[in-house]
């Protein structure tokens, strides 16, 4: 019961956070120094009073601020995200999100997966063999990997893969799976539309989509990979010295069984919150990675909207991101209580 209460408390806490975040976004966009209405017009149209008035009317800016605020937030809370003005003019933001989100989710999923499956084993390996040359190499490369800026790594990796034939001696585009469209561009996810099971029934398409996203996912996951490695290493080092490990050893349990059954399973606990906390980094980093790799995902959409001055779209997207992050956080809390039953008893 206590655990349920803990999760419920976290869900309840999410609402004021959502409300505050949305309100701040509204204030910045609609009460800030830039008039969102004139921003949507061309420099010619800006001169005509009637056009400006019409744009203000459509955005509801001629109404009292409080009324506009209530109207804007309440329509967001029922998931009416409004329409776009400059980016894909006139389309429904909700439809746009449905269109763009899968690519970002695909990218995020693989970057988390790569980070988890490379970072954690490396960290555990370094932890089990602490203070050996292998440990030092793994630790230092993890730290450097963490400090590399995503955008730079993306630029370098992209150039390497585009020129892979002359630089690396193999052609990335035809390696294993054929990618006629090259390294950059959207992963082909359309085959799954309306039939999510196609992910498994059409492995050729799935592999192509994975290969397409792989370089971007590797870059996006780089920081997390380094992080998970460090934390994995520390977790193993700490668990190694626990009494139950000594006891198992005294009992004559084999080294292999100690490492797999006693050390690894307990060392995994501190890693769960880390994986989900990194959602922040993934969403922020997606702007740069998607821009470099030319993926039309949420990050690029947000960036284009901001650069071109489609402020209403920026506001709606910000709301989507806040909701996304809150959902990820709540899922993390639920997962965490399942893995470590002690959570929630002493949480504040």
């Amino acid at each position: 019961m206590k655990r349920l209460k803990y999760v419920l408390k976290r869900v309840l806490m999410a609402f004021p956070v959502l409300w505050l975040g949305t309100s701040m976004t509204w204030y910045v966009i609609y009460q800030g120094p830039v008039d969102p209405a004139t921003n949507l017009l061309s420099s010619q149209e800006r001169l005509t009073e009637a056009k400006v008035e019409a744009a203000r009317e459509q955005l509801g800016l001629n109404r009292p601020p409080l009324e506009h605020y209530v109207d804007w937030t309440s329509s967001l809370f029922v998931l009416d995200l409004g329409q776009t003005w400059l980016i894909y003019p006139g389309s429904n933001v909700g439809a746009l999100v449905v269109d763009f989100l899968p690519r970002t989710v695909w990218l995020g999923f693989w970057s988390v997966l790569i980070a988890v499956f490379v970072g954690i084993p490396l960290g555990f390996y370094a932890g089990v063999r602490s203070n050996t040359v292998a440990d030092y190499i793994a630790s230092i490369s993890g730290i450097v990997w963490r400090a590399m800026p995503n955008f730079w790594l993306a630029v370098i990796l992209l150039s390497l893969l585009v020129g892979s034939e002359s630089l690396l001696g193999f052609d990335w585009d035809t390696l294993l799976v054929d990618l006629p469209s090259g390294v950059t561009g959207n992963p082909g996810l359309s085959y799954m539309a309306g039939d999510p099971l196609a992910l498994f029934t059409q492995p050729g398409e799935t592999l192509a989509a994975i290969k397409k996203i792989l370089p971007a996912a590797l870059v996006l996951g780089s920081a997390s990979m380094g992080n998970e490695m460090r934390i994995g290493r520390t977790a193993v080092l700490e668990t190694k010295n626990e009494q139950y490990v000594d006891f198992a050893r005294a009992k004559g349990v084999s080294n292999r069984a100690i490492v797999w059954k006693h050390v690894f399973r307990n060392a995994l606990i501190p890693l769960v919150p880390i994986v989900t906390t990194e959602a922040f980094l993934l969403i922020g980093g997606s702007v740069l990675v998607e821009s470099v790799f030319g993926i039309n995902g949420m990050g690029k959409l947000f960036f284009d909207a901001a650069i071109q001055g489609d402020l209403p779209l920026v506001g709606s997207l910000m709301f989507v991101f806040i909701v996304l992050l809150l959902v990820i956080n709540i899922v993390q809390d639920i997962l965490y209580t399942l893995i470590d039953p002690r959570v929630g008893y002493d949480a504040n």
């Binding site: 976004t25 630029v155 934390i231 919150p273 980094l281 740069l288 947000f302």
Partner: protein, 485 residues
Amino acid sequence: MATPTRTYAESEADALGERVSRNPRPALIWVGVSAFLLLLEAGAAVEFLLNVLGDFLRAVPQVGRVQAVVNLQEAAGNVPTLLSRETIPNRGYYNGQEYVGTFMGLAPGTAWQFRVGLIYAYSFALLAWTWVGYDWYRTHYRVADWTPRDDVVDRLRSHGWGLFGLAVVFMFFVLVVFAPAVSPTTVAANLADPYGHTMTYWTGSGTEEITVGQANLGAQSQGTPQENVGPWSYDKYGRFHPFGTLPSGKDLFTFIAHGARISLIIGLLSVGLSASVALILALVSAYYKGAVDLSVVLISDAVMGMPQLLLLIMLTVILSGTWIGKIYSGAFVLALIFAGTGWPAMWRSFRGPALQVSEQEWVDAAKAFGQSPTAIMRKHMLPYITGYLLVYGSMTLGGAIIAIAGLSFLGLGVNPPTPEWGRAVNAGQDYVATSSWHISLIPGILITLVVTGFNALGDGIRDAIDPESDSAGGEGEAGGRGGGA
């Protein structure tokens, strides 16, 4: 040294002045040598400070160019400094027999190396002398034989990784402070106004004078072996480029050295601001707890609920047109935005230690004694969290440098033509796989090195102040990544 039989506070002992006058020799030597070292570079130091001041004043529209500051700047420029480009010039030309205008007739590259080598030797000497000063103070003048801080310092001294970070950070600071002196050329002549400056070069049969702008056109790095000036090479006009040139033919080292300046100024300003806000809030929320704590939790959660990099993009776009967005090429507003979006992460890191301290008996005692809340926070709680300030400040600074570079890579933040590292990466992104690979690669490697340095320094300080701590904490780590840039 014998252990003192009774302990007493510094305030009960004689004044520092009296302790010094009893044994003045070490103090006099130390002050004399420091004064000598500082005098060598007095001009450069004053010029740096005035430069920063002048930039800020010029950027505020109401004030504009203050003539007094400009005059002072010129006067400071006339103070002879040992390690300046005037004393050891590296720009000159070959006249058929020898180099004219360079230091002792050396080749421009050698002269530049000599100057940079001297500057770094000087800086490390200054650092070492500062340490000697602390050491002498400890042995000759401090009342106590031992203080807890000695252990912290000793732990940091034996922390190889932390020392590596300290060295990298120190070298970065030297690059920033001495940017005009370590650059092979000046911002004015090479980056800002190349057509307003002329230079002489050896054509092969005689010397000729052209504008720097024209020379830059002949020194472009465009990816082909013919049109490329790589690292550590001379261009057709006899100019030495330690890091090669940009696609526009401008000198990459000068660009990077001055870009480091703006990165560090934004970083320090934003970390200083957000750390102060976080510190005050941590103290207040830990002292009052309850509703105060809860409301700070909510506000910080709301700010952190928006991805920092997206928030940065949104705010830079919205604030770029305002007067505040124009101060210091947009750097000032960037620092404010960083501070505004960065304090919650820091506050989270300070909250735990602050709460722990607030539970201590001495805080209760001070309350019972009737001390005012501000005095309790300042005297009895603050000293225990300042260590964490250094740890997270160092890590956040690294993250800020990444994020600033990421924004300028996207074309946001610091306005061109002010140099910024991210813009160099952007300018070179089409040339990575060509012979002009240096344009993107070198700034990226430098960012990685500097950020690693700040993280290592943070690790070192954390292990020094709190050796029991978990060396890979989760919460604060995200702050060191610049929101994922």
